[in-house]
Structures are given as structure tokens and as C-alpha cells.
């Protein structure tokens, strides 16, 4: 739930920014649609679904541990040995005569099961998925290389940029420096490459099972638009942002979600196109001022002096942009001056230009990927933890006891209370005062259970597993209570169950 809300807020911020700088029918449609999301129940369902079984938002499950009486209670299942007693649904148990537990609390085994339900790809084709992801990354790289290195494709990309500039110029008062390519240059290769790139990106994002790549894509799009003052044709705007939004819908996707989204966007589009078309003068003026301010600020920072005179900036000015010139000097591209028809010739891009473009593309790609690296790592860690906890619920109690006890040992070691190469039953004497007498007794019991589990072929009884689980949770509690801020972060990371 928290994640959905955060994603929504981020999205809204993007869209408002976009609307502020490029206010036209398209961005207005996007903005209205976004604002409608929490208000219209069907739309809300798509992005913030209520808790349903097999849903991956753990945080949400945890928040509503107490189901209201009239509500359908969360998952109820028969009591299994090892379930915490506090999870027992006493009311229902009394009614049915059997012990029933709520599956609202996330138990190690349950998380696993839930994840399995929710994210089939992740669990099933683990290695395959990773390989696929790498392949996609490689293909994306190839795409970029193709665009930057093959002259034909590069020219076509420049032609595409020219088209976009031309389209933008119709909508705003900026003049763009066009790339020196012929009018008849085909844009097909660049369009194809772009489509392939986007498709690959979308595939990778879907494979990651994260909404962040889509958010990042929308952000990248919006920032590019704002920075370069590009105004895309209305249908393009609507399509691009709708697709990005669809990517951020809650998983697992409901079958009706695309239809709901599509109809909502269409309705709003028709509404805005008919009732409030065109640009909003006041917003336009405000955004112009903001651009001016930003430009001045930028020039102060970069030390570049505007070639324009004072009266020019106050007048409605023309925004000059040149991709090939500007990007080398980062912010330097923002210059204000009267654009005359006999604009200076742009020198043919030399190989250094290609290099620049390549580097920029790579850094753009890095920008698109880097933000997820922590998430990816976190996710991997989480998976590793779950994987480690898998044997806890194993049929084989011996294996389970070993695994649980091993986890206790890891906890102690991680918090610096380990006794190294001592036999675990001897660790008792090395435990710090933090652990009380009772804990030591239980630790010793579990250490002996562990020895029996490890060195004896006879299966242990089920209560040994519970004893070990109890020890594990006690260990975690004690360490958590004793931990300082930094240590708690480490513990949180180790547990990965936030």
C-alpha cells in the first residue's frame, strides 16, 4: 500500500510538472486521468487494489491484521503445527469446532507461497529470467550502438528529431536548430529502433516485476520534454503516458485493467479535447517565467552569458535548442536569442560527436537502470532470505531444526556474539549477559536438538521444530532490543521483511 501511494505521488508530481511546462490537451488529459485515479473506484482498483488472496503487497496484508466483522476475513486455513497461537481465529474456530488461523501474519513459509502465487516467473524460471534480463540489456545496448554508430540510422534518428522539433514548433514558440539531414531522409530505421528499444525496456521491466522502470520511463520522457521544451502531438503524449501508467498498475494485473484504463483515458481525452482544448494562457505565462528563471540560474552557474539583450528576454522569446551542440556543454545549450531565418550552419557531426552521443546515451541508459539497482539488490536479498527460510517448513524435521538453528547461529554471529569454531553447545558459556539464564537453557536444549538432528538418522519430533522456532524468534527479539540504530538497519537488512 505504501509503495503504491509513493508511486502515485511520484507520478502525480511528474504529471503536474509536465503540465506546467507543456500545457496542452494531451498533458491535460494525462493530468486529469491521474487525478481521477483515486476518485473513481474502478480505476482505483487497478492501481490500489484491496487485499486479495495471492497478492504480493505484504505491507498491506500486515496493516489490516484485524478484519472488520462485516468484511470477508483474510485467508483462513486450518491450524498447522508450528503456527503461532496468536494467529488462531478464535471466533471462527469456536464456530466450526476446528482450530483455524488467519493467514494475515506473514510466516516464512507463507510468504514463499504467496510470492509463488503472485510472481510465478520469479520463482519458476529464476536462472532463465536472469539470463533473459541480461539478454534484454544487451539488446538495448545494441540498439543504442546501432543508432549512434550506423550513419544511416543516425541520420534517420536526426531526421526523427527534426520531425519532433517541427511538431513542437507548431505548438510553441521555440525555434530548434535542426540537424542537417535531407528532407527526404527516411525516419523508419530510427522509429523501428526506438520501438524495439522501448519494447525491450518494457519487457525487461515486466520481467523485473517492478513498477519503477515504468515510472522512470515516464520521468525520463517528462524531463526530456520539459528540458528541451518539446511538445509532442496530443495523441502521442496520451499514448506514451497511458502506457507508462499501465506499467505501474498493481500486480498481478487484473484482466479488466487494460479495458478500464483505455476507456478512462478515452473519456477524459474526448472531454478535454471538446470542452477545454488548446493551451491555457495563464499557465503558459507562468511556465515561461519559470523557464526564464531557470535559464538565468543556469547561466549564472555555467558562467555563460546570454547573447540576448534585456528587452529580448522580457519579450516573448524564442527558445533555441541544438542537440548536437548543446549536449557537449550540458546546460550550455540553453541560450536565448532571436532566431533568425538564416541560422548558422551546423558543422557536420564529426566522430567526436558520435562519441558524445554514445556517451550520453549510455549515461541515459545508466540513469534508467541505476535507480533500480538498490531495489534489485534488496529484492535479491529478500529472495535469498526466503530461500533460506524454505527448509524451516520442511517435512523433514531434522532438516528444519538444522536450518532454524543455523539461522540462530547466523544471528548471533552477525551481531558479534559468535564464538567462532567452538561447538555450538559450548557457545552457551560465551553468550553475553544480554541473554538471560532462561535463554541459555533453551539455547543449550536447541543445540542438543541440533546435534541430534545433524548426527542422528532418526527423525525428531515436531515439537523440536517449534522449540527451535521459538529460540529463533527470541534471539531476534533480544538482538533487536539490544541493537543500536546502525545495528538495527543491519538486522532489518538481514531479515528483509520490512
Amino acid at each position: 500500500m505504501k509503495k503504491s501511494a509513493a508511486a502515485y505521488v511520484l507520478w502525480l508530481f511528474l504529471v503536474v510538472c509536465l503540465y506546467f511546462f507543456e500545457n496542452d490537451t494531451g498533458t491535460r488529459t494525462v493530468l486529469i486521468c491521474s487525478l481521477l485515479v483515486p476518485l473513481l473506484p474502478p480505476l482505483r482498483e487497478v492501481f490500489f487494489p484491496k487485499h486479495t488472496p495471492g497478492q504480493s503487497e505484504k505491507a498491506q496484508i500486515r496493516t489490516d491484521t484485524v478484519p472488520s466483522p462485516d468484511e470477508e476475513p483474510g485467508d483462513i486455513r486450518p491450524y498447522r503445527a508450528g503456527d503461532p497461537v496468536r494467529l488462531i481465529h478464535w471466533k471462527l474456530s469456536a464456530r466450526t469446532g476446528k482450530l483455524l488461523v488467519r493467514e494475515t501474519e506473514v510466516l516464512p513459509g507463507d510468504i514463499l507461497r504467496e510470492r509463488k502465487n503472485a510472481l510465478p516467473v520469479k520463482d519458476a524460471g529464476e536462472g532463465k529470467g536472469k539470463k533473459l534480463l541480461l539478454l534484454i540489456l544487451a539488446l538495448m545496448l545494441i540498439c543504442i550502438l546501432t543508432v549512434t554508430l550506423l550513419p544511416e540510422v543516425r541520420r534517420s534518428a536526426q531526421a526523427l528529431c527534426n520531425r519532433i522539433f517541427a511538431a513542437s514548433e507548431k505548438n510553441n514558440a521555440y525555434a530548434y536548430t535542426y540537424f542537417p539531414v535531407g528532407e527526404d531522409q527516411s525516419i523508419l530505421p530510427a522509429v523501428l529502433a526506438g520501438i524495439v528499444f522501448l519494447a525491450l525496456y518494457a519487457a525487461g521491466a515486466l520481467l523485473l516485476h517492478s513498477r519503477i522502470p515504468f515510472l522512470m520511463l515516464a520521468a525520463a520522457c517528462a524531463l526530456t520534454q520539459v528540458y528541451f521544451g518539446l511538445a509532442l502531438p496530443v495523441p502521442v503524449t496520451v499514448t506514451v503516458y497511458s502506457l507508462a501508467a499501465a506499467g505501474t498498475a498493481a500486480r498481478p494485473l487484473r484482466p479488466r485493467a487494460p479495458a478500464i484504463l483505455l476507456s478512462a483515458v478515452l473519456c477524459v481525452y474526448v472531454f478535454t479535447a471538446v470542452l477545454i482544448p488548446g493551451r491555457d494562457g495563464r499557465t503558459e505565462a507562468a511556465s515561461e517565467k519559470a523557464r526564464d528563471l531557470a535559464a538565468r540560474f543556469e547561466m549564472q552557474i555555467t558562467g555563460l552569458r546570454p547573447e540576448t539583450k534585456e528587452e529580448d528576454t522580457t519579450a516573448r522569446h524564442l527558445h533555441h535548442r541544438s542537440l548536437s551542440e548543446g549536449m557537449g556543454k550540458a546546460a550550455a545549450g540553453r541560450e536565448f536569442r532571436q532566431v533568425t531565418l538564416e541560422e548558422e550552419e551546423i558543422s557536420m557531426p564529426s566522430w567526436t560527436d558520435s562519441l558524445r552521443v554514445l556517451l550520453l546515451s549510455l549515461s541515459a541508459l545508466a540513469l534508467l537502470i541505476l535507480p533500480f539497482v538498490p531495489f534489485y539488490l534488496w529484492d535479491r536479498r529478500k529472495k535469498a532470505v526466503l530461500e533460506k527460510k524454505r527448509p524451516f517448513a520442511s517435512e523433514n524435521v531434522n532438516e528444519a531444526v538444522c536450518a532454524i538453528f543455523g539461522s540462530v547461529i547466523q544471528w548471533l554471529e552477525a551481531s558479534g556474539h559468535g564464538a567462532g569454531n567452538l561447538l555450538y553447545r559450548d557457545w552457551v558459556s560465551r553468550l553475553p549477559d544480554l541473554f538471560g539464564e532462561g535463554y541459555r537453557k533453551r539455547f543449550l536444549e536447541c543445540a542438543m536438538d541440533f546435534e541430534e538432528a545433524a548426527y542422528f538418522s532418526l527423525p525428531l519430533s515436531e515439537d523440536k521444530r517449534q522449540r527451535a522456532m521459538a529460540l529463533l524468534s527470541e534471539t531476534e527479539n533480544v538482538l533487536w532490543k539490544a541493537a543500536g540504530m546502525k545495528r538495527r538497519l543491519i538486522i532489518k537488512y538481514r531479515k528483509c521483511l520490512c
Binding site: 569454531n421 541430534e452 545433524a454 548426527y455 538418522s457
Partner: protein, 317 residues
């Protein structure tokens, strides 16, 4: 703790107070069908302990005080010409008919006597004049060595020490135990208070079941790694022999049985390691450390099986 063996220990403790661990160790060696070398000063109760144990377990007891002129035939027996029947008849020696034999000051015996005893220990039989006589079953030797006053002694060669399962030291009793000894000896000989709580058949059966104590590969791996590490240790000339490793496993099994467990743990191995291997490693002349130090260092250094089982991937340097 195994209930019956616990009783044995209780009985023996009536005589030797404050020495529970050594009683346990000797009992363990007994269960492992091994022989014990007691390396100690005189008068700390070696004989008393052996007698008490043999009484509690219900074993027949013999004692030989070794001097340089004890002959092999005194131990193994000899054939004597019987003029009446005109035949040689076999007169059994000290080792025959004994379940538990105490060989006092074995290092004072001549080397051929020593080797006769060692053969009897190893083969559990004696051969006199080409005829082989089996010894009592179970058969166990507790040999003692005196570490002071070694002048004129014949120290056991390294190869013969290897035959003993464990080498133990008793040490002085502490204050309370010493008081206890003084108090108890005032009235009567406490040995008489020891009653048999087991029979030698029971012991034989237990020795059999010790062999079926479960020992997982993790433990075998641990013993092997310990032995290998001892051979590679910088202070050690000759490390633990394969027989030594075998003895560790036997002793560990017996200890697990004594503790009433059906399986060997890493703790068993660690507990018996020092006693089994103390006399098996030969240190370099300029080693500068004792065998005990080397062994405890090995225990510290070699990754224990608990760890191996839980974290098989992590290799400790």
C-alpha cells in the same frame, strides 16, 4: 548418561572421590575395547581405581608390578614338564584369567617383557610353545608409567605407545577430595564397599552395541581433517597415524554410548581427542610447545563439524 554405567561410576566414586572424569574416561576406553596408559606419580590411587572399577563391573582383576627381572613367561605362562604324566603342561601366566590387568610401572620392565604384554593386548591371546591360548573376554590392560624417577627404566617406544587407546593422567586430588580420602580410610577399606552392578557379559554386550553407535560422514570427515592437520602442523614430526584416527572414532563412539546417545557428536570427538592423541604425535626437537598445546591448537583451528554441517559453503582459513 547411560543408566547402568552411571551406576558403575557411582560405585567407583565411593572409593575415588573427585575423579569422576578419569573414571568416565577409563570406562569409555573399556567400552571401546582399548587399553589405558596411566602416566602419573605414585600414590594418587591408580591401583585403587582399577580395583574399584573391576569390582563394580564384575571383572576379574590381576595386577603385575613390573621390574626389570619380570620375564615374558611370567605374563604369558609357560609349559612345564610334568614328570608324572611325562607331558608338558601349560601353567597360565598373569594375563590369563584376568579381565582387567593392571601393569604397574610398565616402563620398568625389560623390552621383551613389554613386547610380550603388548602382543597379548593386541591379539587378546598368548602363544606359548606354539600353542595359542585365548585370553578372557573382555580383556583390558591398564598400564601405569611413572614420570618421576625414570632412572634405569625402559621407556615405551613410540610404536608401542600407539597400541594404547588412551593415555591419561590422574593428578592430585583437590582439597575436598583429599579430606574425603583421609576421612574414609579411617574406618575400613572402602574397596569392600564397592559392589558389582554389572557383569562382564553385560560389558561384552555393551562393547558390541558401542560398535553400532551411529557416526555420520560429518564426524568421519572431522576426524580425518584433524588427523591430516596434525600431520601438517609445523611443530609435529609424526602426526596422528591412521590407527590413531581409528582409535579416535572408537573412543568417540564409546563416549557417545556412555552419555546414553545413539550417535556421535563433534563434542565426543573433541572430548576424547586429547587423550587419544596425546601420546601419538611426535614433536620436533625444537618444537617449543607440548603435545597438549598442539592438540588444543588443532581443535581450535580445524573447523568443527557443527559448523561444516550448517555452513558447508564457508571455508575457514
Amino acid at each position: 548418561m547411560h543408566p547402568e554405567l552411571e551406576k558403575v561410576i557411582r560405585e567407583a566414586e565411593k572409593v575415588i572421590s573427585g575423579k569422576r572424569d578419569i573414571i568416565e574416561k577409563i570406562l569409555t576406553a573399556m567400552l571401546a575395547e582399548g587399553h589405558v596408559l596411566l602416566d602419573d606419580i605414585t600414590g594418587v590411587g591408580k591401583t585403587t581405581l582399577a580395583v574399584a572399577l573391576s569390582r563394580a563391573v564384575g571383572l576379574s582383576f590381576r595386577r603385575v608390578q613390573f621390574t626389570p627381572d619380570v620375564l615374558p613367561s611370567d605374563l604369558t605362562g609357560f609349559s612345564m614338564y610334568d614328570s608324572a604324566s611325562g607331558e608338558f603342561i601349560y601353567r597360565p601366566g598373569a594375563v590369563s584369567g584376568a579381565n582387567l590387568m593392571l601393569g604397574d610401572e610398565i616402563n620398568r620392565a625389560s623390552s621383551k617383557t613389554q613386547s610380550a604384554l603388548l602382543e597379548a593386548m593386541e591379539e587378546k591371546q598368548v602363544t606359548v610353545d606354539g600353542r595359542t591360548y585365548p585370553l578372557e573376554h573382555p580383556f583390558m590392560v591398564i598400564a601405569t608409567e611413572n614420570c618421576v624417577g625414570t632412572a634405569g627404566t625402559q621407556p615405551l617406544p613410540y610404536a608401542q605407545m600407539d597400541r594404547f587407546l588412551v593415555k591419561l593422567t590422574m593428578g592430585y586430588p583437590d582439597y575436598r577430595a583429599q579430606m574425603e580420602i583421609l576421612r574414609e580410610r579411617q574406618s575400613e577399606d572402602p574397596i569392600k564397599k564397592v559392589s558389582a552392578v554389572m557383569s562382564k557379559e553385560d560389558l561384552a554386550a555393551m562393547q558390541l552395541s558401542v560398535r553400532s553407535v551411529e557416526m555420520t560422514d560429518a564426524i568421519l570427515d572431522y576426524i580425518t581433517r584433524l588427523a591430516m592437520a596434525s600431520r601438517e602442523h609445523s611443530c609435529v614430526e609424526i602426526g596422528i597415524s591412521p590407527r590413531g584416527a581409528l582409535y579416535i572414532s572408537q573412543m568417540a563412539r564409546a563416549r557417545a554410548y556412555l552419555e546414553g546417545r545413539g550417535y556421535v557428536t563433534g563434542g565426543d570427538v573433541q572430548a576424547v581427542f586429547g587423550d587419544v592423541c596425546g601420546h601419538r604425535i611426535l614433536l620436533k626437537e625444537d618444537a617449543g610447545c607440548s603435545a597438549g598445546q598442539v592438540l588444543s591448537e588443532l581443535l581450535k583451528k580445524v573447523e568443527n563439524p557443527d559448523r561444516r554441517i550448517l555452513f558447508p559453503g564457508k571455508k575457514k582459513k
